[in-house]
């Protein structure tokens, strides 16, 4: 007896004619594979839904409240940091104005501009120094060493990211359990 159509009937759960049903019954008496397939199907259909432990909704609300609190705390920290930066910036401006207090507007403008020029030229100088150092070291250090250093840096970054991810996952699991 050919096994294939019977297996297909069982897998597809097709509606069968009375003759086909009888053929299948006869086949099941001799085919252990199809019998197992039928029994698994019945076993799966007889299993019940598993419900969570009572109070699931309350636990969800608690978690939601905790997440909101965490979000608020993060927002507060962010705003505090931003406020601190603004206060520092304003403080620097006030200090500059205080040191030039009583001077004419032209002098205040000149002081401000010289401060700005000093800042810009400092950044450009440091940039130039960095470039020169890079060119010099590039000639001294062989390419293989550069590649090794780059690979090492990449590996460190990867390990750092992986450990952060693991840590955050473990923390979230621990917090919930």
């Amino acid at each position: 007896m050919n096994h294939r159509p019977f297996e297909e009937w069982l897998l597809e759960n097709q509606p069968l004619t009375p003759e086909q049903k009888q053929e299948l019954r006869d086949h099941l008496k001799i085919c252990t594979n199809c019998t197992a397939l039928t029994e698994v199907d019945l076993a799966l259909k007889s299993t019940r839904l598993v419900a969570p432990v009572a109070g699931f909704t309350d636990r969800f609300q608690l978690r939601l409240a905790a997440e909101r609190k965490h979000h608020r705390t993060l927002l507060l920290w962010g705003l505090s940091l931003l406020g601190l930066i603004v206060i520092l910036a304003v403080g620097v401006v006030i200090f500059e104005l205080y040191t030039t207090w009583g001077n004419s507007p032209v002098q205040i403008f000149v002081t401000g501009m010289s401060w700005l020029v000093t800042m810009v030229s400092s950044i450009r100088t440091y940039g130039s120094i960095g470039l020169v150092l890079l060119k010099v070291t590039a000639r001294i250090i062989p390419m293989s060493l550069w590649l090794t250093a780059a690979a090492g840096c990449f590996l460190l970054v990867f390990l750092w990211a992986a450990s952060l991810w693991k840590l955050s996952y473990a923390t979230s699991v621990r917090r919930l359990v």
């Binding site: 009937w9 069982l10 897998l11 759960n13 097709q14 069968l16 086909q20 049903k21 299948l24 019954r25 252990t32 594979n33 019998t35 197992a36 397939l37 039928t38 029994e39 698994v40 199907d41 019945l42 076993a43 799966l44 259909k45 007889s46 299993t47 019940r48 839904l49 598993v50 419900a51 969570p52 432990v53 009572a54 699931f56 909704t57 636990r59 969800f60 609300q61 978690r63 939601l64 997440e67 996952y169 699991v173 919930l176 359990v177």
Partner: protein
Amino acid sequence: MDDEKTWINQAQNGSDEAFTRLVETYQTPVYNLCYRMLGEPEAAEDAAQETFFKSYRNLGKYDPTRSFATWLLSIAAHHCIDRLRRQRYTTFSMDDEENTFELPDIHAPDPENELTRREQQAQMQTMLRSLDATDRAAVVLRYWNDCSEVEIAQTLSLTVPAVKSRLHRARRALAKLWEENGIKTNVERRPHESPAF
């Protein structure tokens, strides 16, 4: 159904009470999916909570023309599949079955067979472990959540032929294990289910 649409609409407009009603309605199917996928009550609770939390955060992205249950189960299934892939392996314990609460069934089998039935349930749970995460999700959605192949395809972001193929493969694999383990059937067909033959 109309209630559900109202709750979704209210929840999308920021009503926590409406969302709580949705959690109450879907906690069992979502938890059951997570439990059958992950095999541990604690992990299932965590995954089910995470599912509702994700759905709460992304409620604005929900398309009301789609089934809410499918959308929710899709979040749960993908979360569990990701989790299983991260873990690479899962640890199932027969004792875990005792820490869960099965819904009382009005068509429950004879109490004398309850122990055998529970053993079979535990064996079934152990057998599910052998399946690939996506195949397992397809089986759980088909048999426990009564989803059609189209709904499973939508839930798991697969095509309908792919779902069919996965279900067939999974059922063959389970039957092979069933045969190898020599499990004797002692199951009762639920009255609303028509036999295949």
